[in-house]
């Protein structure tokens, strides 16, 4: 959907009629006919998306300059983390409580104003965001909406498909559904995971999931099988480590099938079709569709020539498509930084620093960033990939001779499993307190 001025106004107009009914418990809607939520008085940053990127951007703008008003718009009252959701799927976590955060402390301790609404449009010229509950004006906008799925590229994919073949690539109901399906499957059943071509959210995520589902089958349903169908020609993340884990721990249960792109699904029959010729059927099918920037970024014309991801300046994360709009997290093209929660956190801080500098007419600062992704390979061992990033020639690049993957002899894997849990605790605390 591309947005022109007229359809934008239509959206806003349509929204105002549902404003009062639609946001019970939400912020008070001003009495004006345009249903502006919280009229802007001073300088204001609006942030879209209360996930790994958006929460941090909102908090850090406030920490850096408390005279700037920050409004964070998020559709859900609680956020459920994708990181560690594979633990839940593999039966290593009782429920999703450790992965769930709210926004009360961001509001109370940092003065971030929360608006729980779905953003439906952005008018870059008028500098106004439209939600179902009304509009919000901004001086600068930070967009961190995560990903949505390119399901139109998959023949046979309908609105019903995820309820039969969960993607579990956004944490919550889908995560619970996949675990329920695994639990309901009899011993001797077959599980199929299908993953898309890069770039997609969390490069090592599908391989970690394969390890933890294989671990579940090995311990609970040892006669079962797991197949990972990878659209990529080879393992795209931590290859020597994952390959070793599969060989050493899950031999006989797990099969890795690279270079097979699923083009069609038949959810009723739990069947995936590769390039129109080869069928893969499973008792449980976890189909992870190809991805692009969250819908709102596409609707607002923030995506680049590939129509999928948002090009940005490597220092400020300002969109190269629209002035005064910054894009971070999975939705952004951040050079060598992968689409991960850690990257989103790191990008958010760089973006907040430079948004505040720009709003105060101060000099901006070059990016220094980090990404570390931990992946569990069993119930007691984890591995990691680390990177340190800086800007060279206008691009985000990895600092030479730094970063890399854990030792291949797994000598650190038990310790990293312990550190990974503290990582989760720290990053979720950063987001929520």
């Amino acid at each position: 959907m591309t947005m022109d001025r007229r359809s934008f106004i239509k959206l806003v107009g349509g929204a105002s009629t549902v404003a009062l009914a639609g946001c019970a418990g939400g912020p008070a809607v001003s009495s004006g006919a345009a249903a502006e939520i919280m009229p802007k008085s001073g300088r204001r940053v609006v942030v879209i998306g209360g996930g790994y990127g958006g929460t941090i951007a909102a908090k850090y703008v406030r920490m850096l300059d408390a005279s700037i008003e920050v409004v964070l718009i998020e559709r859900n009252r609680q956020y459920i983390s994708c990181p560690f959701s594979n633990y839940y799927i593999g039966g290593l976590m009782k429920d999703l409580t450790p992965l769930t955060i709210g926004y009360d402390k961001l509001a109370a301790d940092h003065g971030v104003k929360m608006v729980y609404e779905e953003v439906t449009g952005i008018d870059a010229a008028a500098k106004v965001v439209a939600t179902k509950g009304g509009t919000l004006a901004y001086d600068r906008l930070i967009v961190s909406p995560g990903v949505d799925f390119r399901t139109e590229e998959i023949e046979g994919y309908t609105a019903e498909t995820p309820s039969l073949m969960p993607h579990a690539w956004k944490a919550g109901e889908q995560t619970i559904l996949l675990r329920q399906q695994l639990e309901a499957m009899p011993d001797g059943g077959k599980v199929v995971i299908s993953m898309p071509l890069t770039p997609y959210r969390c490069p090592p995520g599908p391989y970690e999931r394969a390890c933890l589902i294989a671990n579940y089958l090995k311990t609970q349903k040892p006669r079962s099988k797991l197949v990972l169908i990878d659209a990529n020609p080879d393992v795209v993340s931590k290859k020597p480590l994952f390959t070793k884990a599969w060989n050493n721990y899950y031999n006989g249960i797990f099969e890795y099938v690279p270079g097979k792109k699923v083009t069609k699904v038949d959810a009723q029959h739990k069947t995936l079709v590769v390039e129109g010729i080869e069928d893969h059927q499973g008792d449980v099918v976890n189909f992870i569709p190809p991805q692009r920037a969250g819908r709102i970024a596409v609707a607002a014309g923030l995506v680049g020539d590939d129509k999928n991801w948002c090009p940005v300046d490597a220092t400020t994360f300002e969109s190269t498509k629209h002035k005064d709009i910054h894009v971070i997290g999975d939705a952004a093209v951040a050079g060598a930084m992968p689409k991960s929660g850690y990257s989103a956190n790191s990008e958010a801080k760089v973006c907040a620093t430079n948004v505040v500098a720009l709003m105060n007419g101060k000099e901006i600062t070059e990016l220094s960033g980090i990404n570390v992704c931990y992946s569990a390979i069993s119930s007691s061992e984890s591995i990691s990939v680390a990177g340190v990033y800086r800007v060279e020639g206008g691009n985000i690049v990895g600092v030479p001779n730094s970063g890399g993957i854990s030792p291949v002899d797994f000598s650190q894997a038990k310790l990293e499993h312990v550190y990974a849990e503290s990582w989760l605790k720290n990053i979720l605390t950063e987001m929520s307190a």
Binding site: T320, H322, L415, Y419, S422, K425
Partner: protein, 197 residues
């Protein structure tokens, strides 16, 4: 609309170029912010095995990071990360974290062990981990309020030889059992430092 947008795109492109030209090199805060995903906002760790950096002595931080970078100190991830920073970056980040308000999250410790540890540390460790570990001397880090989980990992690594001790510290540690060392960890973790969360 499309035409107006492309005009902005041009304008933004120009802005981006000039912005890149005028960007200052990363400040201490820019460098240090990136560490927060693991060590907590401004180095106040909420994770029981991830060390607090906030309020730590600058010298101890510099020495720790240089030792990670050279490989002299064993690590899971810090070796890989510190290779991405110059010595000047390391000094800048250390200075930054040393100036942050120490913040200790509430943690559960065994009071009996802490009592025993308190007595042991005074005799064996207090020469360097001065003031019951609440202050630092030379390269020795502040211990008070550090996470128990982290201290236990470090004690294990010292005892197993994976992490090397200075000869002088080894001289003291060799008189102690693993249980003694654990008791001392409980003592240090039990101490309140700065703001408690």
């Amino acid at each position: 609309m499309t035409r107006r947008w492309s005009v902005w795109a041009l304008a933004t492109g120009a802005l981006a170029m000039s912005a890149a030209a005028h960007a200052a090199p990363p400040t201490a805060a820019m460098l240090a912010n990136a560490c927060g995903g693991c060590h907590g906002t401004q180095g106040a760790s909420a994770g029981p095995s991830m060390p607090n950096l906030a309020g730590q002595s600058k010298k101890a931080l510099v020495e720790a990071m240089k030792a990670f970078k050279s490989g002299e100190r064993s690590s899971t991830v810090m070796g890989r990360l510190t290779k991405g920073y110059s010595d000047a970056d390391i000094v800048a980040m250390s200075e930054y974290f040393s100036k942050q308000k120490p913040t200790a999250y509430a943690q559960a410790v065994d009071a009996k062990k802490a009592d025993k540890g308190g007595m042991l540390q005074e005799k064996h460790c207090g020469r360097c981990h001065v003031d019951d570990g609440q202050d630092f001397k030379d390269d020795a880090p502040i211990m008070a309020g550090q996470w128990l989980g982290y201290l236990q990992i470090q004690m294990d690594e010292y005892i197993s030889g994976k992490r090397k001790m200075s000869e002088k510290m080894a001289e003291k540690v060799k008189h102690l059992s693993a249980d003694d060392m654990d008791a001392i960890a409980h003592f240090y973790a039990s101490e309140k430092m700065g703001e408690t969360k």
